[in-house]
């Protein structure tokens, strides 16, 4: 009897703690159910509404938990479930908030994108299952759950990239994404097996405890960590596993590009932050200096992403490379971690988390603006964007906000997150990371301002009559993202304070 009672309270407790994840999963199932029950009716409003409601309620729940202290040091500490393979703490809730807010904006925007689509149910259910998996990545606390959730996020993503079945670019991008994803999953799984072999555990905390006793197996542990880092590089679109990103972001439907470059990247980073901070921090002095590894990757990723972006002629591809560059900035959060219990560790990793939060809005907004341009069908290059500001001032204003914010101009949210990231790197002694970051940021203003210049300064080359249609969902999503990007400058305090506290809890 008592065992049963124990089980039910555990059950209720787990459901409550995991409510944000479960809400997204249930809404995905609901969309699938609607589609299966009425397969002949095209119920775009219903499925889109379900998706928006599901992601928004998950967002609301995670923000509520964050505000009320659930899983955080002030509210009883991290909640560990299912033999500690799942953890609900500040980091998890913060990243659930990022992923679900991106998913909500993408769901709203996709409504217009799918107007002519025959089967919106499959699109929305894939989107929601991918979101579910990304929220699971945020709560995964064992290499087994990490691997399962990572693959669970990847599979719907492949399908979503290739969603435009009749479009060659989309299908080719999906195939490329799938092949590189399969290779990186193999590498990742092999890395997990090596780490398990060396430390005897898959639970992150137990791995950390086991690293002290690896003895002669330190080489195997080091190779395993290196391979796991490769898996994360794929998921976050960092060098050297970044090749899929420009193709996939360019070929995919633009809302999916927004989703992958913001939410999927954030989910990849939350796993990387948790695994390396919790499990592998002791390995810094024993097996492999992964801080230096990420430092080199960060520099190469920042330089390559920003320089490649500067040479593009198509806006979407430019944003794809800029998204790689931003992965480089977030990698600073891992690169500047040191082996000792230095408070600078939490500062810099918290700053990287806050940067991903701001990035979730400004980057999603930018890709959704491109979705709007695709909806109008006026072309893909910088020249095709000329004169749009005259016909669509509000959306173009929002796009200018995203561009300046991505460049880190000290006017919008993107400034503080970058600045504090660089400040954290300097405090930890990694001034060279901050220097490369500052220089590449200054360079990035060049190519971001090309978009602004085209939108506002240049006169239209052809007819812009297509701009008379005002896609409501896309507009709403872009404007919301723009307003949040602006408000994140005065309102950056709660974000950075939550992120720092969450990062500090990881290192505790």
């Amino acid at each position: 009897m008592s065992l049963l009672l124990q089980a039910t309270t555990d059950w209720a407790f787990s459901v409550r703690a995991l409510a944000p994840v479960l809400v997204v999963a249930l809404s995905g199932l609901a969309v699938l159910g609607i589609d299966s029950l009425w397969p002949d009716e095209r119920s775009l409003e219903l499925v889109a509404g379900t998706a928006v409601a599901g992601t928004l309620s998950a967002l609301g729940l995670s923000l509520w938990y964050l505000a009320s202290g659930t899983g955080q040091p002030g509210g009883g500490g991290a909640i560990r479930l299912f033999s500690e393979t799942i953890i609900v703490d500040g980091t998890a809730l913060l990243f659930i908030a990022i992923v679900t807010s991106v998913a909500a904006m993408v769901s709203v925007a996709s409504y217009d994108y799918l107007e002519a689509d025959e089967n919106p149910g499959s699109y929305y259910s894939l989107l929601l299952f991918a979101t579910t998996a990304m929220t699971l990545m945020a709560v995964a606390n064992s290499l087994a759950t990490v691997f399962v959730s990572l693959e669970m996020a990847s599979l719907p993503s492949y399908a979503l990239v290739a969603y435009l079945k009749t479009n060659r670019g989309s299908v080719e991008a999906g195939l490329k994404y799938f092949l590189i994803g399969a290779v990186s999953a193999a590498v990742f799984a092999f890395g997990i097996s090596l780490v398990y072999g060396a430390t005897g555990s898959l639970l992150l905390t137990d791995i950390a405890a086991g690293i002290g006793g690896v003895g002669d197996l330190d080489g195997i542990l080091g190779v395993g960590i290196l391979m796991i880092a490769g898996g994360f590089a794929f998921k976050t679109a960092s060098v050297p596993f970044h090749f899929w990103a420009p193709e996939a972001y360019e070929g995919a439907p633009a809302p999916i590009s927004a989703f992958l470059s913001s939410a999927s990247k954030a989910a990849g980073f939350v796993v990387a932050f948790r695994v390396f901070a919790v499990a592998f921090q002791p390995a810094l002095g024993v097996a492999i200096d992964w801080g230096l590894l990420f430092g080199i990757l960060a520099v190469v990723t920042m330089v390559l992403g920003n320089f490649a972006a500067a040479t593009q002629t198509e806006v979407k591809r430019m944003l794809a490379y800029s998204s790689i560059g931003h992965a480089g900035y977030a990698l600073i959060g891992l690169a500047a971690v040191t082996a000792d219990a230095n408070p600078a560790n939490a500062t810099v990793m918290g700053a990287a988390m806050a940067h991903l939060f701001v990035y979730g809005f400004m980057n999603t907004g930018a890709f959704l603006f491109i979705a709007m341009v695709e909806h109008w069908g006026i072309g893909r290059t910088f020249e095709d964007y000329a004169g749009v500001g005259r016909k669509a001032p509000m959306a173009s204003l929002a796009m200018a906000v995203f561009m300046f914010s991505l460049a880190g101009l000290p006017v919008f949210g993107g400034f503080f997150s970058k600045y504090i990231l660089f400040l954290g790197a300097i405090n930890a002694g990694f001034w060279w990371l901050a220097a490369v970051g500052a220089v590449t940021s200054a360079l990035s203003l060049f190519y971001y301002s090309r978009v602004v210049k085209a939108l506002w300064f240049e006169e239209a080359n052809g007819s812009l009559d297509a701009l008379d249609s005002k896609p409501t969902g896309l507009y709403a999503a872009v404007i919301v993202a723009g307003v949040v990007t602006v408000l994140l400058l005065p309102g950056f305090g709660p974000v950075i304070e939550t992120a720092e506290a969450a990062a500090a809890a990881l290192f505790a």
Partner: protein, 509 residues
């Protein structure tokens, strides 16, 4: 709270005007811009501050609120005014309202966006002059650039894209240099705040540590140079002035008014606040090269103006010359030097605003700005022409006009400077600039305004509407009032600049 109310009202006005239909935007924008004018005048009338805001004076209308706390540092929302910043706030609000009226004729495209951006710029300018925390200040400082970039790039002349991007690139690189220099300085101080008063007082107490391999002295010198470069571009001084004529020529009249009248003063204001208040010893160590830059700007700017054929370019280059006087007054570091430089910021804001507006009125009527294309305009548009003449005399420093007071104070102050070596030589050279100013202004006016009427364009001469002339009259009135009664601002300016003299152990007149 009055400053927050002022900022909120201006930002809100910008949003309202941006969303209005084009036909209502001009008049609504003017009406809403009177709210900050009233707020500025109210602040001026009830001003109770004393001393310099950074060196521990009594700051008026002060608010301090925590903004964010990270990595051991506190960022604050910290605003307030002293005798240096309040006149600049009043100038900003006054000039914006007049610039908005002067835009009614030339701006006929995308009106609501234009006026919305003007008000947005005004709000950020008020922020620049009132912010007392470095980050709040820096955000406003950069946020001024963005509307300006659009105002030149969208509503400018034929080469507007080039001019807008040149302006944006120059000022952004300058900001980056300044930002890095200032960060090195603050990170080497044993304080955890970015409040400008706290930083100033910590520096004055000699608490500067070393930064990686830079000793405190070297660090202070490096930071001083970085800050000077950052602000000199904004002023601008020779040789980093080349963005200015391009920006002015391409910008529409009201934007030129704001650029010359207020945006250039951001540079000198920041020089006074940062370089000369926070690092006075470095300022006196670098006094001779800075004075040389100032004098070169005065003379070279005036000579460039002499060589121009475009009326607007003439006025633009003469701004380079006039801002040279301000730098000379700052580097002299005397009671009249610092006070005169601050006063000259206000005076030049009004006078250059008047000149650009008058040239704009002539352009609206004639559709040309080239000196060779016109002559004898005095017969056809007497009011505008005589106001332009009055403005030119104000520029030359006619007594009883604001320009005289400013330049006279600067020369008195710089002649007797003890911190600047060879002060009399620099002063004499700079005074020579006035002769050139008189030369090019009189020469240009003689050819365009007087003599037989002639106009070589495809257009008929238009009659200037009343709303073109009204802001000219208002500006001229302000220039004369301030010239006759300089004490309206002079007393509060002295109150805020005299405490700075203690930083270098007194100082002469």
């Amino acid at each position: 709270m009055i400053i927050e109310a002022l900022l909120a009202a201006t930002f809100l006005s910008a949003v309202i005007v941006f969303a209005l239909p084009d036909e209502y935007a001009p008049k609504t924008a003017f009406g809403l811009s009177l709210v900050p004018v009233a707020g500025g005048l109210y602040m001026w009338a009830t001003f109770t501050g004393s001393g310099n805001a950074l060196t521990g004076g009594d700051i008026a209308f002060q608010t301090v609120l925590p903004w964010l706390e990270v990595a051991g540092y506190t960022f604050q929302w910290y605003v307030g005014v002293d005798g240096i910043s309040l006149p600049l706030v009043v100038l900003t609000t006054f000039l914006t309202s007049l610039a908005i009226v002067s835009a009614w004729t030339p701006i006929d495209d995308r009106k609501s966006q234009f006026y919305g951006l003007m008000l947005l710029m005004e709000a950020n300018l008020i922020g620049v002059f009132t912010a007392l925390d470095f980050f709040a200040w820096f955000v406003f400082w950069e946020a001024v650039l963005v509307p300006m970039y659009f105002l030149i790039g969208v509503w400018g002349g034929p080469r507007r894209q080039y001019a807008a991007i040149k302006f944006f690139v120059y000022t952004n690189i300058a900001s980056l240099v300044m930002f890095i220099g200032f960060m090195m300085l603050v990170l080497s101080l044993p304080i955890n705040s970015f409040g400008l008063p706290a930083i100033t007082q910590s520096l004055a107490a000699g608490e500067l540590g070393s930064f990686f391999f830079l000793s405190p002295d070297a660090l202070a010198a490096v930071a001083f140079v970085a800050l000077f470069i950052g602000f000199a571009v904004k002023v601008p001084v020779v040789p980093v002035h080349t963005w200015l004529p391009d920006a002015h020529v391409e910008a529409p009249t009201p934007v030129s008014v704001m650029l010359a009248g207020v945006l250039l003063k951001m540079g000198t204001y920041a020089l006074l606040r940062f370089n000369f208040t926070m690092l006075p010893e470095q300022a006196s160590a670098f006094a001779v090269p800075i004075a040389a830059i100032a004098v070169v700007s005065v003379i070279y700017g005036a000579m460039l103006a002499l060589a121009q054929q475009d009326l607007k370019r003439i006025v633009a280059y003469s701004s380079v010359s006039s801002m040279g006087y301000v730098i000379l007054g700052l580097v002299a570091f005397t009671e009249f030097g610092l006070g005169g430089a601050t006063f000259q910021m206000i005076a030049h804001g009004l006078i250059s605003g008047l000149m650009f507006m008058a040239v704009g009125v002539i352009y609206n009527a004639t559709h040309t700005r080239l000196v060779g294309d016109m002559s004898g305009l005095a017969d056809r548009m007497p009011i505008a022409v005589w106001i332009l003449v009055a403005g030119a005399f104000a520029y030359m420093g006619l007594p009883l006009m604001a320009g005289f007071a400013g330049e006279f104070f600067i020369f008195v102050g710089s002649f007797g400077s003890t911190t600047l070596q060879y002060a009399p030589v620099f002063t004499a050279l700079a005074m020579f600039g006035i002769v050139i100013v008189a030369g090019y202004l009189l020469f240009a006016m003689q050819r365009t305004l007087f003599g037989p009427f002639r106009l070589e364009t495809e257009y008929e001469l238009d009659r200037a509407p009343i709303h073109d002339i009204a802001p000219l009259v208002a500006l001229l009135a302000a220039i004369i009032v301030l010239g006759v009664v300089p004490s309206l601002f002079w007393n509060m300016i002295l109150d805020a600049t005299v405490p700075l003299l203690d930083l270098l152990g007194g100082g002469a007149l």
